[in-house]
Every structure is written in C-alpha cells, then in structure tokens.
Amino acid sequence: MLKDYKDEYILNIIENQHYTTRTILSSLLAVQDEIGYLPKNSVNVVAEFMKVSTNDVWGVASFYLNFRFDPPGKYNLEICWGPSCHIGGASDLQQTALKKLDLENQGDTKDGKFSLKFNTCLGACPQAPLISVNHKLYGKMNTKKLSKMMDELN
C-alpha cells in the first residue's frame, strides 16, 4: 500500500506551497494536503528545506494532531464530540460508527476504506450533532442517517 514519493516530488510541493510565509508547519500542511499524509522522507525534505534538524520537524508533526504518518482511508469520517453535539447525541453516533467499522477508538479500518476521527468542534453547532465526510459537513445527524450514509459509502 505504501507508495514511494520521490524527494524531488515532495520538494516541488514545498517550493510551490500557497503561502509566502514558509515555515515547518506550512510546509508540512502543504505536503499533507497534497498526499494525504506525511511520508517518512517528507520530514527529511522539509528539514533540509527549512534548514532545521529532522527531530525539530518530527516534533512539530507529532504536536499537531491532524498530521498522519500513514495513508488515510478512502473516506475521512469525522464525528464531532463538542458539548453541543454531546448533548445532541454524539456518543450514539460514535458507537454506531465504531461498531460498524469494528474499531475501539478513532483510527483506520483494516480494509483502508475509512479513517474515523473524533473532532472537538466542527463549527456548525446550531445543526448539532454533526459529522463530516471528506471535509464536507452534514448537520442534524442521527444514527439511522449515519448508518445509511456509511452503507452507501461502502
């Protein structure tokens, strides 16, 4: 499954990143946006580009919890567990998803179809409880709708 990305390819992404202020964080975000995760060699390329140690880059990559070190599933399913969603029934959505995907906590399914993530706030609290699939928000969720959606994605 792990695809090799050549150093030159990654360097090209970093050099062409969108923002003019270039930092360790902005470079890592650019790589993850393009590839979906941070391949191991990308950390070395970022370190070289920013003229810092690889350990510094691993430090930043480990700190921000959105960074992944392995390829994401085909569908990135996020379930919000902020207080508004919590009182609106987020835990039932979590349980439904965990059961359907045979997981114990957030993570990836073995078949590589789903990456499940619990988000602290998806930012549309009036429509709680919320989920997002590949960054598209779906409000006013319930377990029935979620089950159906997940079946359709499969």
Partner: protein
C-alpha cells in the same frame, strides 16, 4: 484608484442588482446555516433551473442571517417586489419555490419566513418581525446575509471602506487610537482588554510590526469568528487595515485553523480583491500608507488560540505558549512588536471610525459598549448566531431569540464562553450579557458561545465532556496542566461511573489549585473551572453519581469515547522520542 471612483462603480452595480430586472436570488451559505445543510447543492439546483427554463438569474451566496435554525435560507428579489424569504430550503423544495414565484407569481406559503422592503403583501409576515431578527442589533454582522461574501463591490456599496477612507484621509494614527479608546471597545476574544489601549502599546516602536487576527476559535459552541469570515470577510480586512494604520504596522496575519475551508477560502478571496482594488499593498488609496495581509494556517491545537502560542504557530513551531514578559507589543511574532486582536474586535473598528466613538458608546452598557455576538446552541428551539446589544439578559436571549427550551423541558445548565468558561445554573437567567456582570456571576462571556442544556443531562456528564476536551487539548508544556487535566478526567470519569468517593472532591480542588498556580496560560489556569463551577451549582449531581445513581441517567446512557492526547512535551521532543512519529504509537499503546 480613488475611493470615490470605487464607490461610484460599486453603487452602479448595487442599484442594478437591486432593481430586480434580473431576478436576484441569495442563498445563505455559512457553515452554521447553509453548507452543513447542503446549500452547495441548492445553488447547483438553482443554476440548473435557470438553464432549464432559460431564465437569467443573479445568484449570490451570502452569509448568515443569524437565524441558523431556519437554514438553508434563500431570498428572491423580483422587480417592484419586496425581498421574499424562505427557510428550511432543501434541494427537494427549492425548485418549486422559485418556479412558482418567478414563473407563476405564486408565493408558496410553506416555510415562508417573510418579506423585506417597503411594500407589504397581504398574508405575508415581515421578515424583520421574526424574533430572531427583530431583537438583533447588527454592527459587526451588518452586511451578513445581505451581500455576497465574495464581491468587494457589494461591500463598498454598503458603506464599506468608508471608515478606512476617513482614517487615511483625515485622521492621524493617534486620533484613530483615541477614537477606538473612547468608543470603549473591549476585546471580544475572552480577556475583554480595551482594544484602543492595546494598540497604544505599539505606537512608539519603529520598523516591521504586525497585526495578528485570531480566528483559531477552537471553542466548541462558538462559531462567530468563522461566521464573520464566512459572511463578510471584508469588514475584518478593513478593520485590520485601520488597526495597521493606527499602530503604524506593516504586516497582518489572519490566523485560521487548517481544515475550515469556508473561512479560509473566503478570507483569501477578500484579501485578493482588496489588493486588486488598491485597498491593500503599497500606498493604500493614495495615502502613502502601505499594509500587507496574509492568511496563516495552524494545525489541530486549541492552545494555538492563546496569543503567544499563536505567534509560535505562525513561526511554524509547535504552538506552546511563551512566558511573558516580554509581552507581544515588545517582542511578538518573529521577535517584532505585534498586536493580537480577535476577529470580532476588529470587525467593529470600521464602523466605529465611520460613525464615531460616541455612536458606538451609545449602544450597550456603561462598561461594555457595543454588541455581543451570541452563538446559541444545544437544547434550544431556535439556535443561531445572534448579534445583540450588550445589557440584554441571558434569559431574554434564550426566550426571545432562542424561542425557549423545546418539548416543555426545563432549563438546567448554561455553558458559556467555551469549555474553560464553566457552567451556570438556571438561576443565571437574569444575568446581563456584559463583561463585568458575567464575571460577577462567575462566568465569562468569552467568545460568546452559550450552550443551553436541559434537565435530561447530568452535570457530571457535561463536566466530563468539558474536562475531556481540556485534557485532549492541553499542549503539554506545563506539567501541572498536562498531568493535572489527565488526573481530573480520570476522577470525573470514575464519579460518572458511580465509583467516586466524597474525598475526590477535595482532591480535585487541590489539583485545580496547583494547575492554576503552575500553568503559563489560561488553559491550565482555568482548566479546573468546568469542575469548580459545576460543583458550585450542582454538587448534588456529583454526590448522587458517586452513590451509583446518576440523577438523569445520562452518565450511563451516553457512552462517549474520548480520543487520546498524544502531543509530546518539550523534553520528549528534545530526547528524540518523536522520531518517525513513534511517540503517538507509544501513547496509544499505553492506554
């Protein structure tokens, strides 16, 4: 280009749109009331309708009207007719609504919210009479819902950049700072520090200086910063340029969390259009003042919203707070003098300069002038993003704007100002929305989020969710916070399971005190707040849960799974434990 020619140009376009020669359809497309409900597909359907019937339409996506409960909202303007609003629009009913109105001149009454304009149509209520509209007093959100968020000309036609033009053409930097000082504008990010005073710290230093706009907004229950950026990003851009002029700054950053595509894309578009029209960059409006703005993205970290952590994040490092002093006004981002303002604070600035400080001071209360943007969510009939005058009571907001608690249930708790703000009991309805009044009541207005919780939820259950958030988001720099939050969560979970003992309360208090004394930033200092405030009002719930008898049963019913905080602390980074991302695996395995 001069301001006058821009204004003329914009006015012509605006009056063309408003003539309704071509039917003008506006679709609410903010996260809170549109894009989470399929507004994108609605716009596509309308475009398809236009093609199918060969009717030319002006279709604009606009921001939030405040009444998010009725999302998605569309309104149609036809020639010689008032604006007609429909709510709860979906792809199933949108075509029927516009087809019968535009083609058959028939107003579908189902989900009709009302009309807006001089003309009154029999049997159609006034949109402005809706409680959620009527009780609002919009300053920062004045354009939201009325103008396309991606068209600078619509902003200019509605008085946009008048404030900037006034500041640049007829005021000195000191005068701008004094005007903001006199207006009584206080920071809307949480600390409520007077904005004008903050700016004055920057006035004397020279060279490169930064205005940082904080839209990290990780607070669950608050979405007004993102709401402003999605609904009317130009008002923020104008406020930032004025702030830059007042403090003689050279650069600005809008700091947004990665992944919130709506606010990011719209802010970038607004910045681009401002550059194209000579409102950013070199020699703005021919005044000789130059200012640049760029968007800066952060990863998933709540603490990145803390002012010094924010600067670390802009510099591309892990967002751990710095110790102060030195303060940002002396040593900020890249070591240069910096001022950090919240999105909301900056969004008032343009109107304050345009209308004068006395005008702004005349709204709100003695100590808190202006308005508050309240994000109402939870167990409430009409959740939304309401901009209300300071001084309105929380009870009024919940009853009048929010429409009360649905299904005849009773109010139990209010969670205000983000997870660190703690909870209030139902006796707090009389408390006025005002920085000082709220503080007296033991709560903070903070970011403006109010989560309404009815009597189905146990206080321990809600506290658990808040503490779990604080634990998950601790950056790990200060050990009293890192270890304290983990310990607190363990104890609250234990109580929630019915295994707590009464001594736990004293232990939590001890941990909380240590966190307060030994943490650099508000996250650790206020981390005990959710528990202490819940205990103040609902100790009975804790005691009942300890005896294994949760008063509402929600502790048992809601089996929430918390993600694990795997952030390394500084020594784990230094000692190489982060190499190849191993730390994450190690922490995950330990649990």
């Amino acid at each position: 280009m001069s301001y006058e020619s821009l204004k003329n140009d914009s006015d012509i376009r605006w009056s063309e749109l408003n003539s309704g020669n071509i039917p003008w359809i506006r679709v609410s497309d903010a996260m809170c009331c549109g894009s989470s409900l399929g507004s994108e597909e609605i716009v596509q359907t309308i475009k398809g309708f236009s093609k199918k019937h060969n009717i030319s339409l002006n279709i604009d996506t606009v921001g939030c009207h405040g009444i998010c409960y009725a999302g998605t909202i569309i309104d149609v303007l036809l020639e010689d007719k008032p604006r007609m609003f429909w709510g709860y629009v979906t792809i199933e009913n949108v075509e029927e609504i516009i087809d019968s109105y535009i083609n058959k001149n028939k107003i579908i009454k189902k989900n009709l919210l009302g009309s807006l304009g001089d003309q009154i149509i029999k049997g159609v209520p006034r949109f402005s009479d809706l409680p959620g509209i009527q009780y609002q007093n919009r300053i920062a959100l004045r354009n939201s819902g009325n103008i396309a968020f991606n068209d600078i000309h619509q902003y200019i036609a509605n008085g946009g950049f008048l404030g900037l033009n006034k500041a640049l053409s007829s005021m000195s930097s000191e005068e701008v700072i004094n005007e903001v000082k006199n207006s009584g504008l206080r920071g809307r990010g949480g600390a409520a520090f007077p904005t004008g005073v903050k700016w004055s710290f920057m006035a004397n230093s020279k060279g490169k200086k930064y205005i940082l706009c904080n839209c990290e907004e990780g607070d669950p229950g608050a979405f007004n910063d993102k709401g402003i950026l999605e609904s009317d990003p130009f008002t923020l851009i104008e406020g930032m340029i004025i702030a830059g002029f007042a403090t003689n700054s050279t650069n600005g950053y809008v700091f947004i969390r990665h992944g919130h595509e709506g606010p990011i894309i719209r802010t970038e578009e607004a910045i681009k259009q401002a550059y194209e029209n000579g409102l950013l960059g070199e020699n703005i409006l021919g005044s000789g003042f130059s200012f640049d703005i760029e968007v800066s993205l952060t990863g998933d970290s709540y603490v990145a919203g803390e002012e010094t952590a924010l600067m670390e994040s802009i510099e591309g490092k892990s967002s751990r707070p710095r110790s102060r002093p030195p303060f940002p006004a002396a040593y900020g981002v890249w070591g240069k003098p910096s001022t950090i303002n919240n999105v909301k604070s900056l969004s008032y600035v343009a109107e304050i300069i345009r209308n004068g400080s006395d005008w702004f001071k005349s709204t709100g209360t003695e100590s808190s002038s202006g308005t508050a943007i309240v994000c109402l969510s939870g167990d409430i009939s009409n959740p939304g993003m309401y901009e209300v005058e300071m001084g309105l009571s929380i009870g009024d907001v919940i009853e009048k704007l929010g429409g009360g608690i649905p299904n005849g249930r009773k109010l139990k708790m209010l969670q205000t100002g983000g997870p660190l703000g703690g909870v209030l009991g139902s006796d707090s309805l009389k408390v006025k929305i005002d920085f000082d009044e709220m503080a007296k009541a033991g709560a903070i207005l903070g970011s403006g989020g109010i989560i309404v919780v009815d009597d189905r939820t146990c206080a321990v259950d809600l506290t658990k969710s808040l503490v779990a958030f604080c634990q998950y988001e601790s950056c790990g720099k200060c050990f009293p916070c890192r270890l304290g939050m983990t310990h607190l969560l363990e104890i609250v979970e234990k109580i929630s399971k019915g295994e707590g003992v009464i001594e736990d309360l004293a232990l939590m208090n001890k941990i909380g005190k240590n966190m307060q004394a030994g943490s650099l930033c508000g996250h650790g200092q206020l981390g005990y707040n959710p528990i202490s405030s819940a205990l103040k009002h609902f100790q009975k719930d804790f005691e009942e849960c300890m005896s294994g008898d949760c008063p509402t049963g929600s502790c048992k019913k809601r089996n929430i799974v918390f993600p694990i905080n795997t952030r390394p602390n500084a020594w784990q980074v230094k000692s190489g434990q982060v190499y190849q991302g191993k730390i994450r695996q190690v922490v995950n395995d330990r649990k």
